[in-house]
């Protein structure tokens, strides 16, 4: 039995998991992310997004430039929640954006 080829170490996603996802019809990068969980760990895809996207281009025989990245969302790095506790912006929801707010 050959060893696992790990593409996403945070979530233990292997090359065969990506192939399995494609074989079940989940071929789009967002679909593959949701099906396998790659890119959803502590590194948020820093180590695996490019690697998986390039493998996906090969498996699905697409030109790499046709493959978009998955959506990038904050925070871009592991962040203790206490850092946001005193920020007024962190206590607002999109509906409140028109409201006045004090600066810290």
């Amino acid at each position: 039995m050959p060893g696992k080829i790990v593409l996403c170490r945070c979530e233990d996603v292997t090359l065969s998991d990506i192939e399995h996802s494609v074989s079940r019809g989940y071929r789009d990068i967002e679909e593959v992310k949701r099906y396998t969980g790659f890119g959803t760990g502590p590194c948020q895809g820093k180590e695996c997004l490019a690697v998986v996207a390039l493998q996906l281009a090969q498996i699905t025989k697409q030109n790499p430039s046709a493959i978009p990245p998955f959506t990038s969302r904050p925070p871009l790095a592991p962040t203790p929640l206490k850092l946001l506790a005193k920020d007024p912006g962190a206590h607002r929801f999109p509906d409140d954006l028109g409201d006045d707010e004090g600066e810290a």
């Binding site: 080829i5 099906y35 820093k46 490019a50 281009a57 990245p69 850092l83 920020d87």
Partner: protein
């Protein structure tokens, strides 16, 4: 070279460490090997990138979980413990999961045949999964929020960012530079042709030119809806809100692994991490080192191999196509190649770094997947402007070019910014 000597505790033992290095470097230098276990198969996990970007060195420090050992300084009395394993990271009984599911595990169809079995499986899985345990005590003080209003904000303090910030500041623009590492310098500190001294010099020049350099400060998100756009930056003891007229992304690239069987075994490190340990910390991470290399990195690999040999290591270069696996119980002891088994105590993986473009993407910059560039590179015009207004990019984030060429690119793009119509 390694700073003042201090005593730290690693997995219960007192270890002599140095003030300028990270707890990860101190752990490796003192013989520490396995730090935690992976989420699903409980495979052993440890250092890989030494740049704070992978999840390999997440540990518990001073009772706080999930901290990156490579981004924590060696302060006297610091205490490091492994996490996510039972009874310990070195001997983890849950590692049996890896053997039981040697062909992989599809959690969508795992024990879904019977609803009773499924409920039981869910209970067990919830006990096993997750990362770390809650902190021992709640945070005593909440960090303050600081605001910066500047002409130019440069994100990334490697060769490109330091050159760009120095240039805009000398050109009369108020400039703030944010860098996420313990000490700015980026890949200069990992390249034997550049070096620690050059990193310190370039950092000093930026400060001399009037740049506000924020070290250990990570851009965590861009929020366009907030007063024309604010960059949130996290530092150990505070949050920064940065408002700038122009932005320059110089975030470089993330080191990545190459796809070969058992490529996640401890002892498989990024080649740039092996270079960083040697160049920045004076630590030779192995005696018998195999460099597994992808195409297109010839000059980088030659420079690293020469430096490692010069420091006394026995170095062998192997093309990725010739590698069929790694061996070892815990730490790597050999690489399987087309020509047979090759004994070693360290594998250095040389792959083209993946452009760190998720920040620029949040600001609306167009990126394109490009194999030669290492991943999703930021698209720029000949001046260095991205598709987003007042947003520029330079260095490896626009496609891999290496430390020396990135420095030149940073200065060039910043000069274009100075000459552009306001």
């Amino acid at each position: 070279m390694r700073g003042e000597a201090v005593e730290v505790r690693i997995a219960g033992s007192a270890v002599r460490a140095y003030g300028d290095e990270s707890l990860a470097a101190a752990t490796l230098a003192s013989g520490g090997r396995i730090l935690s276990r992976s989420l699903k198969y409980h495979r052993p996990r440890t250092f890989f990138c030494f740049e704070g970007h992978c999840s390999g060195c997440l540990v518990r420090i001073g009772g706080v979980p999930n901290l990156r050992a490579c981004q924590a300084p060696c302060s006297a009395g610091a205490e490091v413990e492994g996490q996510n394993a039972f009874p310990s990271a070195e001997i983890d009984l849950l590692g049996a999961v890896d053997f039981l599911f040697s062909r992989g595990m599809d959690h969508h169809t795992l024990m879904t045949g019977s609803s009773v079995l499924n409920k039981l499986a869910n209970k067990v899985v919830r006990q096993l999964s997750g990362l770390g345990k809650l902190p021992d005590v709640a945070a005593a003080e909440l960090p303050d929020v600081h605001r910066f209003d500047v002409d130019v904000c440069v994100i990334g303090g490697g060769p490109a960012g330091l050159a760009a910030a120095t240039t805009t500041s000398r050109g009369g623009r108020s400039t703030v530079l944010v860098d996420d590492q313990l000490r700015p310098g980026g890949s200069l500190r990992a390249d034997p042709r550049q070096g620690r001294q050059l990193a310190e010099t370039r950092w000093g020049e930026a400060v001399q030119a009037g740049v506000t350099v924020l070290a250990r400060s990570t851009a965590i998100g861009f929020f366009p809806e907030d007063d024309g756009g604010v960059l949130a930056v996290s530092a150990p003891d505070r949050l920064y809100r940065i408002y700038a007229r122009q932005w320059i992304w110089a975030t470089g690239g993330y080191v990545v692994n190459l796809p070969f069987p058992d490529n996640d075994r401890p002892g498989v490190l990024a080649a740039r991490a092996v270079g960083r340990l040697l160049v920045d910390h004076g630590i030779l991470a192995g005696d018998k080192i195999c460099i597994v290399e992808d195409k297109g990195l010839e000059s980088d690999v030659v420079a690293l191999a020469d430096a490692l040999s010069g420091a006394g290591a026995d170095v062998t270069r192997i093309p990725l196509a010739d590698v069929s696996g790694t061996r070892g119980r815990g730490w790597t002891t050999a690489v399987d190649t087309k020509r047979g088994k090759l004994d070693c105590d360290l594998v250095a993986v040389a792959a083209i770094p993946a452009p760190a473009s998720e920040g620029p993407r949040q600001q609306g910059c167009t990126v394109v997947l490009d194999e030669a560039a290492g991943g999703f590179r930021v698209v720029t015009n000949e001046l260095g402007q991205t598709s987003a207004t007042n947003v520029w990019a330079c260095g490896d984030v626009t496609g891999y070019r290496g430390a020396a060429a990135s420095a030149a690119d940073g200065a060039r793009v910043a000069q274009n910014l100075l000459e552009a119509r306001r």
